[in-house]
């Protein structure tokens, strides 16, 4: 078994609907497994809670992006008009900040949106052309009508035969080994 371990990414169970999936995830976590992930063709309500996902950095990154964009936009306009190329037009103030608001606003939105999208992709580790779960033949259904849960071999409790048997006991429709290459 120990020899196998390096070639095995985990054990995958297949389920037919979101309720079965959530139920299985809850049971797996109750059994003490922590290194697992679920795969679904759409965001399943309650699944992230069942998996115990709490930390989400996307909002913070978005806030930083928005602040960065807005500050850059505003300070750049002030600098360009006050310091870099001041033009005195009838004694009007150089730092005419109300006129700088539209560009500041647009750049705030732009910065926040870029941060939200690229932050989400980076945290998800995408683009990632290959992943061991794709080695499972039936996994192609994960993007249409099937729900999967994979217990990963790096989990300290992982034991190929026992974990597979455990998944079967949760009424998984199919249980398959996920090879690592």
């Amino acid at each position: 078994m120990h020899l196998h371990r390096s070639h095995i990414y985990g054990v995958m169970g297949e389920f037919g609907d979101p309720e079965e999936l959530i139920h299985a995830v809850q049971k797996i976590r109750e059994a003490g497994y922590r290194r697992l992930d679920a795969y679904a063709p759409f965001p399943v309500e309650g699944l992230s809670e069942a998996l115990g996902l709490k930390r989400n950095l996307v909002p913070a990154i978005t806030l930083l992006g928005g602040l960065g964009g807005g500050l850059t936009g505003f300070l750049f306009q002030v600098w360009a008009n006050v310091s870099s190329y001041p033009i005195n037009i009838g004694g009007r103030p150089l730092n005419s900040w109300p006129a700088f608001i539209p560009v500041t606003f647009e750049l705030t939105i732009l910065g926040a949106s870029l941060a939200a999208v690229f932050g989400m992709l980076a945290l998800n580790g995408l683009p990632q052309p290959h992943h061991p779960v794709f080695n499972v033949h039936r996994f192609s259904h994960a993007s249409s009508d099937r729900f999967f849960v994979c217990i990963e071999s790096r989990d300290p409790k992982f034991h190929l035969a026992d974990t597979a048997r455990f998944l079967q006991s949760l009424h998984a429709h199919h249980v398959s080994e996920v090879s690592d290459d």
Partner: protein, 461 residues
């Protein structure tokens, strides 16, 4: 209430016209939508339609090419009417794009389930409309190869763009809008691209969709962050869409030109944009559902709701017209009063009356339940509103510029062949892009339809 007509928004109506036809499962919505792209043979009608649209787009290429060779003199513009078709069409196209963002972002925030089957192609429509819109100010500069002057780059001249000018605000607003719309659309597409990757049979398709989907595998951790990013994008796109058309209205309202210099412009431009945008969504949705048999996904409920939004925004626009009238007489400013008289009795009065007919009078038919449930009427109405909104921009641009303060500065404007060729050419480009889009990408969000199936099956339990 007339006999046989159910009450307006009763549970009965909701049951009669659901947001998705009965009996669909995760698998069957996936099959049905992905089959349009993957297995359905390209029909003769598609080729014919594409050929016509593509020829018109060819005309655009010729018109723009000739413009670059000869300059803007080939158009009907001259002092005092420097803006003409280019700005009319720019504002019209940008406005059309706005419904896409409204449907995808605002209705998402309001948790409106009926948005699901129309948001994808409405977003695509936004992108294509922004692309068409962007062409006009670019070529209107006369020297489009110098367009980079509008961006703040460190030049040897040491100059910066005039950040106090609405035209520069426009550059930032429209380019941000284009970028954010593209990202919103693409993020929405990622799970569907993964579906297409997994279902494609031909190797090139697998590779292309595989690269575009970036290895999306539907992991719960990914969905968790994905939903958060999508919600944030919707929250960001909502003020953005309102700001973009406000900024475009500043192009007019900051200028001290009679008929332009009014504070009602931003809200009334935004309402007008959504009005014409929903009209365009209907213009696309009605043939799309017919041709691809998507009546179960784009149901009468959707068409009915869109007609209601059109009616509501149309009334805001009508209020805007009324306020323009009222404010000019109330202020007593003689130039404003004169401008209103010119709208009613001047050389362009027929355009103004046509605009009132298209934008205010005819859409009142949509109060009727029967009319909103008659697909042919809705289609014609959507075209009427599109024409009306185009006329609105024509009236705003041309009447004010031909009749400002001093009679010696008055003029007349008529578009030339090249004006029309450019305008019709952008329509060709828009339709070409729509044709390509429905052929290679899922026109309805598959992942969100699966979510809808899950929600509706929960409702039934």
């Amino acid at each position: 209430m007339s006999a046989g007509q159910p009450p307006f928004d009763s549970p009965e109506i909701r049951r009669l016209t659901p947001v998705i036809g009965p009996g669909y499962t995760y698998g069957s919505v996936t099959d049905k939508i992905s089959a349009i792209v993957l297995t359905r043979p390209t029909s003769l009608g598609w080729y014919v339609g594409f050929l016509i649209a593509f020829s018109l787009m060819g005309m655009l290429t010729v018109a723009v090419g000739w413009l670059i060779i000869k300059g803007v003199g080939i158009w009907g513009i001259n002092i005092p009417i420097g803006w003409g078709f280019a700005i009319v069409n720019f504002v019209w196209w940008i406005g059309i794009g706005h419904a896409g963002t409204l449907i995808s972002a605002i209705l998402f925030l309001l948790n409106q389930k009926w948005r699901t089957s129309i948001n994808r192609f409405a977003e695509a429509m936004t992108l294509f409309a922004v692309a068409c819109a962007g062409i006009f100010p670019l070529i209107h500069t006369g020297r489009p190869w110098m367009a980079f002057y509008m961006f703040p780059y460190p030049s040897t001249m040491g100059l910066w763009p005039q950040f106090r000018s609405p035209l520069i605000w426009d550059v930032f607003a429209v380019s941000t809008y284009g970028t954010v719309s593209l990202m919103f659309w693409f993020v929405g597409l990622i799970p569907d691209l993964a579906t297409l990757r997994d279902r494609a049979v031909k190797t090139p398709m697998k590779i292309i969709y595989g690269m575009l989907s970036m290895g999306w595998r539907g992991s719960a951790r990914h969905w968790y962050r994905y939903q958060s990013a999508y919600l944030l994008l919707a929250g960001l796109a909502t003020p953005l869409v309102l700001s973009v058309h406000s900024v475009i209205s500043f192009d007019f309202s900051i200028a001290i030109v009679p008929g332009w210099h009014t504070t009602i412009f931003p809200p009334y431009f935004v309402a007008g944009a959504i009005y014409s945008g929903f009209a365009m969504v209907l213009t696309i949705a009605i043939p799309l559902r017919k041709v691809y048999g998507l009546e179960d996904f784009i149901t009468m409920r959707h068409l009915d709701n869109m007609a209601k939004v059109m009616l509501a925004t149309g009334l805001i626009v009508a209020y805007g017209y009324f306020m323009e009238f009222f404010m000019s007489s109330y202020s007593g400013n003689k130039f404003d009063v004169f401008l209103v008289q010119q709208r009613l009795h001047g050389p362009y009065a027929p355009f103004y009356y046509a605009l009132i007919l298209c934008n205010i009078l005819l859409p009142q038919l949509l109060w009727s339940f029967k009319m909103r449930h008659n697909v042919a009427v809705l289609f014609i109405m959507s075209i009427v509103v599109n024409i009306g909104m185009w006329l609105e921009r024509f009236v705003i641009v041309v009447i004010s510029l031909t009749r400002d303060f001093v009679p010696s500065a008055w003029g007349r404007y008529s578009p030339t062949f090249w004006d029309w060729a450019t305008f019709i050419g952008t329509m060709g480009m828009f339709v070409t892009l729509i044709f390509l889009f429905v052929r290679v990408l899922p026109a309805i969000s598959i992942a969100e339809m699966r979510e809808l199936v899950a929600e509706t099956s929960e409702d039934e339990k």
